[in-house]
C-alpha cells in the first residue's frame, strides 16, 4: 500500500514535469508545475519530512507560483508569438541536444543512485544500525525549531538577511524609472 502510494506520487511528479517541459501553452505549464510541487511535497512525507512538505506547499504554491503567474500575465503578449520563432544558428541548441544532455545526466544520476543503493555510505549504515534514523512517530517540527534556534542559528540569520536583500533588490529592479 505504502509503496503504491509512493510510486503514485513519484509517477505524478515526474510525469507532470515531463508534460510541463513539453507543453506549449505557458499557462497550462504553470498549472502542471503546481501539480509537480504538490506531488513532490507528497514525496517529502514519505521521507518523514512533514514540516518541509508543508513549507513547500506554503511557499511554492502560495508564493512562487503566484509570482510566476503574475509575471506570465505581465509578459503574455509576447509569449505566443515567441513560441513559433527559434531560428537555428550554427551553435544554436536544437531540442535534441538539450535532450541528449538531459538524458545523459539522467543516466549518470540513476547509475550513481543505484550504485549508492548497493553500497550505501558508511554513516547511513551506522545510523541504521544505531537506530538514530527518524521514526514516523518523532515530532519533527519541535526538533526542527530547536535545531534552527540552536545549531543553525547563524545560517538562519544569514538566510534572513539574504531574503531582505532579495526583497530590496527585487523592489529596486521593478520600480519605475524616474523621468528626469
Amino acid at each position: 500500500m505504502e509503496t503504491i502510494v509512493f510510486y503514485g506520487f513519484a509517477t505524478t511528479a515526474v510525469g507532470s514535469a515531463l508534460l510541463l517541459v513539453s507543453m506549449r501553452n505557458i499557462a497550462r505549464a504553470l498549472f502542471l508545475f503546481f501539480i509537480v510541487l504538490f506531488s513532490v511535497a507528497g514525496l517529502y512525507l514519505f521521507a518523514l519530512a512533514d514540516f518541509v512538505a508543508i513549507t513547500q506547499i506554503l511557499i511554492y504554491v502560495g508564493g512562487v507560483l503566484v509570482l510566476l503567474l503574475f509575471a506570465f500575465m505581465l509578459s503574455n503578449k509576447e509569449l505566443l508569438q515567441q513560441l513559433h520563432s527559434g531560428t537555428s544558428h550554427f551553435f544554436a541548441l536544437p531540442v535534441w541536444q538539450a535532450l541528449l544532455i538531459a538524458a545523459s545526466f539522467l543516466a549518470i544520476l540513476v547509475y550513481t543512485a543505484i550504485q549508492g543503493g548497493t553500497d550505501e555510505p558508511a554513516w547511513i549504515t551506522a545510523s541504521k544500525m544505531a537506530g538514530t534514523a527518524i521514526h514516523p512517530t518523532d515530532n519533527t517540527v519541535e526538533q526542527i525549531g530547536l535545531q534552527i534556534m540552536t545549531q543553525y542559528l547563524l545560517p538562519f540569520e544569514v538566510v534572513s538577511v539574504l531574503l531582505m536583500m532579495a526583497l530590496i533588490g527585487a523592489a529596486h529592479l521593478t520600480r519605475k524609472e524616474e523621468t528626469p
Binding site: 544558428h89 550554427f90 551553435f91 544554436a92 541548441l93 541536444q97 538539450a98 544532455i101 545523459s104 545526466f105 549518470i108 547509475y111 550513481t112
Partner: protein, 681 residues
C-alpha cells in the same frame, strides 16, 4: 738660442712684414672705395722705414732670432718666428725699396683701370708674402710664404683676366711653379725626416747641423740626426728644383716670358725683387746643404740658362719679352754665383740687378704707356710693345731715354754702374773657380763671357731700335709721344740713381771694396784670387760692350743689317728654342690625351663599376625586400592570421545566449562526471 723677447728691430721687421698684409685686408674689405691706392702706398712706405730701421740695427751685428711655439705633431714642435740676419734685412730693405717706387709708378701707370682696387690688394699681398719669406726663421714658414708669393703672382699676372693670353699665362706660371714647389716640399720633408727640425739657424747657421760637411763628400754627422750623402744630394737637388721654377731656370723658365701679360709694373716687381729673387734667396739660405754634385748641377744649369735666355733675347720683338729673357739670363748668372760657392756675390748681383732691371721695366712701361696713348689717340693698328713700331723715341721721351740708358749700361756691365761691380765680380770668380776644377770647367766662364757679350748686344739692339732707329710707323703721322708723368719719372729717377755705383762703393772699378759683400755673410767664402783676371775680365767685358754697342748702332740705326731673318739660328732664337712647342708636344698634349683616356676610364670603368655595384645593391635589396615581405612578414602574418582564425572560430562560441552557456557548463560537468565514473571503474 732664439730670443723670446720682442726687441725693437724685431718689432720693426714684424711691422714691415705685416703692414702690407694689413693694407691688403683693408683694401680687400673696402673694395672699390680703395681705388686711389693710398693705403698700400702708405703701408709700403712705413714698411720701408721699419725695414730701414731694422737694417741699421742688425746689419753687421749678430743675427736676431725670435720664435714662438706654433703647433706640435707627435714629438715635433713647430715654431713660427723671425730670423733677422744680414741676408734677411738686406732683402727686407731691398724688397721695400723696389716695391715703393713700383707702387708710386703704378699710380700713374694703372690710372683709370676699372679693377685697380684689386690691383692694390694683390700688390700688397705680393709684398707681404715676399717680406714674410725673407724673414721666416724656418723652412715651413718660408714654404708658406713661397706659396703665397706664387699665388699672388698668379693673381697679378692674370690681373687682366678678360684677356685670354693673360689667363693662359698665369695658369702656366702657376703650374710650372707647382713643379718647383714639389721640389721645395720634398727638400723640406727630407730635412725634417733626417734632422727633426726645420729651423734655418739650427740647420744652416754657423754651428748648424749642415754647416760642417759643406762641400765634403762625407756623410754629415750631427747630434740630433744624420743624413747620408745620397739623401743630401737629393735634398739639394730638390731645393734647386724649387728654385728652378721660381727663379725661372732652364728648362722651367717658360712661364716668365709669358708672365709679361701682367701689368708692366707688376713685371718689374716680379723680375726685380720679389718672385724670381725668392729662388736665389732660398738657395743662399740653404746653401750649406749643397754638395759638389748639386753645386755642379746648379752651375751648369745657370750657365745653360744664361746662355739660352740671352740667345732667345736676341731676336725678340716684344720689348718686355727681351727684358724677360734678360732677367732669366741674369738669374742664370746668379745661379752660377751660387754654384761656384760665392753666394754672397750672387746676392750682391741680385741686389744690383733688382735696381737696374726694375728700372728697365719701368722705363719700358713708360714707353708702352706712351705708345698705348698714341695708339688710342690716332687709331693705329699696332702692338704697343713691339719694338719694330718704335724708333726715334729719344726726342719724344728724353728722360725715359736717360734712365733706360743707365739701366742698359748697368745690365751690360759698363764701368761706373752697379752692374759692372756685381757682374764682373761674378765673371772673375767663375774664372777663379774654373781654375780649381780642371780644364773642362773653363767652359763655364767662357760661356758666361759669351753670354755677357750677347747681353750687351741685345740690350743695345733694344736701345737702338727704340730710341735711335728711323721711326717706322710714327714718322708718317706726325705723332707725338708724351713723356711719362711725374709719378712715373720720379721712381725711375730714384732707381736710376741706385743703379749707379755710389751707393755700393766709392771705388767704381773695384768690386773688392763693396760694403755689401763684406757685411753680407760672416765668413765669406773665398777662392784663390787670380790677380790678372781682376783687370783683364772687366776690361774685356767693357771692350766687348763697346764693340757690341757699335755693332748694334751699325745694324739697326744705320740699316746695315746683315742677317737673314729666315735662318735656322734666327728662328730658333725668335721662337725661344721651340721650347713651348716642345712642351706642348711632349707634355701638354699627351697629358690631355691621358686625361681624355682617364675620363673615358672614369666614365666607363669606374662609373660603370659603381653603377654595377649600385645595380647589384638594388637587386640585392629587392631580394631582401621580397624575403622580408614574403618570408619574415609572412611568418608574422601567419602567426597573426592563426591567432585571428582561432579567435574567429572561438568567437562563434560567444553567442551571447544564456542557454548555450548553460548547456556548455552542463556538458563539461557531464564530461567530468563521466571521467570520474570511468576512473572509478
Amino acid at each position: 738660442m732664439p730670443a723670446y723677447t720682442l726687441t725693437y728691430p724685431l718689432l720693426a721687421a714684424l711691422s714691415a712684414v705685416l703692414l702690407p698684409f694689413a693694407a691688403f685686408l683693408l683694401t680687400a674689405v673696402l673694395g672699390k672705395k680703395a681705388k686711389h691706392g693710398t693705403i698700400s702706398i702708405v703701408a709700403i712706405s712705413l714698411s720701408l722705414l721699419a725695414a730701414g730701421y731694422a737694417f741699421t740695427q742688425v746689419w753687421g751685428n749678430t743675427p736676431i732670432h725670435i720664435q714662438w711655439h706654433w703647433f706640435t705633431i707627435g714629438r715635433h714642435a713647430f715654431h713660427v718666428g723671425l730670423l733677422l740676419d744680414n741676408m734677411a734685412v738686406l732683402m727686407l730693405v731691398l724688397v721695400c725699396l723696389i716695391a715703393l717706387p713700383v707702387h708710386c709708378y703704378s699710380i700713374a701707370y694703372m690710372r683709370g683701370d676699372p679693377g685697380i682696387h684689386r690691383y692694390w690688394a694683390y700688390l700688397s699681398l705680393f709684398c707681404f708674402a715676399m717680406l714674410g719669406l725673407v724673414v721666416a726663421d724656418n723652412l715651413l714658414l718660408m714654404y708658406i710664404c713661397w706659396e703665397l708669393v706664387g699665388f699672388a703672382s698668379y693673381l697679378l699676372i692674370g690681373f687682366w683676366y678678360t684677356r685670354d693670353a693673360a689667363v693662359q699665362a698665369n695658369k702656366k706660371a702657376f703650374i710650372v711653379n707647382r713643379i718647383g714647389d714639389i721640389g721645395f716640399l720634398l727638400g723640406i720633408a727630407i730635412l725634417h725626416s733626417s734632422f727633426g727640425t726645420l729651423d734655418i739657424q739650427a740647420l744652416f747657421g754657423p754651428q748648424g747641423l749642415l754647416t760642417a760637411p759643406m762641400g765634403a763628400d762625407t756623410p754629415a754627422i750631427a747630434a740630433e740626426g744624420t743624413i747620408t750623402s745620397g739623401w743630401l744630394t737629393v735634398a739639394g737637388l730638390a731645393f734647386f728644383l724649387g728654385t728652378m721654377a721660381k727663379s725661372a731656370q732652364f728648362p722651367l723658365h717658360v712661364w716668365l716670358p709669358d708672365a709679361m701679360e701682367g701689368p708692366t709694373s707688376v713685371s718689374s716687381l716680379i723680375h726685380a725683387a720679389t718672385m724670381v729673387a725668392a729662388g736665389v734667396f732660398l738657395l743662399a739660405r740653404v746653401f750649406p746643404i749643397f754638395d759638389d754634385t748639386t753645386l755642379l748641377v746648379i752651375t751648369t744649369t745657370g750657365t745653360v740658362t744664361a746662355f739660352a735666355a740671352a740667345y732667345f733675347a736676341l731676336a725678340q720683338y716684344d720689348i718686355k719679352k727681351i727684358l724677360a729673357f734678360s732677367t732669366i739670363s741674369q738669374l742664370g748668372f746668379m745661379m752660377v754665383g751660387i754654384g761656384i760657392g760665392m753666394y754672397h756675390v750672387a746676392l750682391f748681383h741680385l741686389v744690383t740687378h733688382a735696381f737696374f732691371k726694375c728700372l728697365l721695366f719701368l722705363s719700358a712701361g713708360a714707353i708702352i704707356h706712351g705708345m698705348q696713348h698714341a695708339k688710342e689717340k690716332h687709331q693705329l693698328d699696332i702692338d704697343p710693345q713691339d719694338i719694330r713700331h718704335m724708333g726715334g723715341l729719344r726726342r719724344h721721351m728724353p728722360l725715359t731715354f736717360t734712365t733706360m740708358l743707365i739701366a742698359s749700361l748697368a745690365l751690360a756691365g759698363f764701368p761706373f754702374t752697379a752692374g759692372y761691380l756685381s757682374k764682373d765680380a761674378l765673371l772673375v770668380h767663375a774664372f777663379e773657380w774654373a781654375a780649381l776644377h780642371g780644364e773642362a770647367a773653363i767652359a763655364i766662364p767662357l760661356v758666361l763671357v759669351i753670354v755677357s757679350i750677347l747681353t750687351s748686344f741685345y740690350i743695345f739692339r733694344l736701345l737702338a731700335k727704340v730710341f735711335f732707329a728711323r721711326p717706322s710707323v710714327l714718322a708718317n703721322n706726325d705723332i707725338h709721344i708724351h713723356e711719362a708723368s711725374r709719378w712715373m719719372l720720379a721712381p725711375m729717377a730714384f732707381l736710376a740713381f741706385c743703379s749707379l755705383f755710389p751707393i755700393f762703393t766709392f771705388h767704381p772699378l773695384n768690386d773688392g771694396q763693396v760694403w755689401l759683400l763684406h757685411g753680407l755673410v760672416a765668413e765669406a767664402p773665398t777662392l784663390p784670387p787670380l790677380r790678372p783676371l781682376h783687370i783683364l775680365v772687366p776690361a774685356l767685358a767693357t771692350a766687348a760692350t763697346l764693340v757690341m754697342a757699335t755693332l748694334a748702332w751699325r745694324w739697326y740705326v744705320n740699316g746695315h743689317y746683315p742677317i737673314r731673318t729666315k735662318g735656322v739660328l734666327y728662328r730658333l732664337s725668335e721662337r725661344q728654342g721651340y721650347l713651348n712647342e716642345l712642351y706642348d708636344a711632349i707634355i701638354v698634349r699627351p697629358l690631355l690625351k691621358l686625361s681624355l683616356l682617364l675620363l673615358w676610364i672614369d666614365h666607363h670603368v669606374v662609373d660603370g663599376a659603381i653603377n654595377g655595384m649600385a645595380t647589384a645593391g638594388r637587386s640585392l635589396a629587392g631580394i631582401a625586400a621580397w624575403i622580408d615581405y614574403h618570408l619574415v612578414d609572412g611568418l608574422i602574418r601567419l602567426v597573426g592570421n592563426l591567432a585571428w582564425g582561432a579567435g574567429h572560430v572561438l568567437r562563434r562560441s560567444q553567442t551571447g545566449r544564456v542557454q548555450q552557456y548553460v548547456a556548455l557548463v552542463f556538458f563539461i560537468v557531464l564530461v567530468i562526471l563521466l571521467y570520474h565514473i570511468f576512473a572509478q571503474a
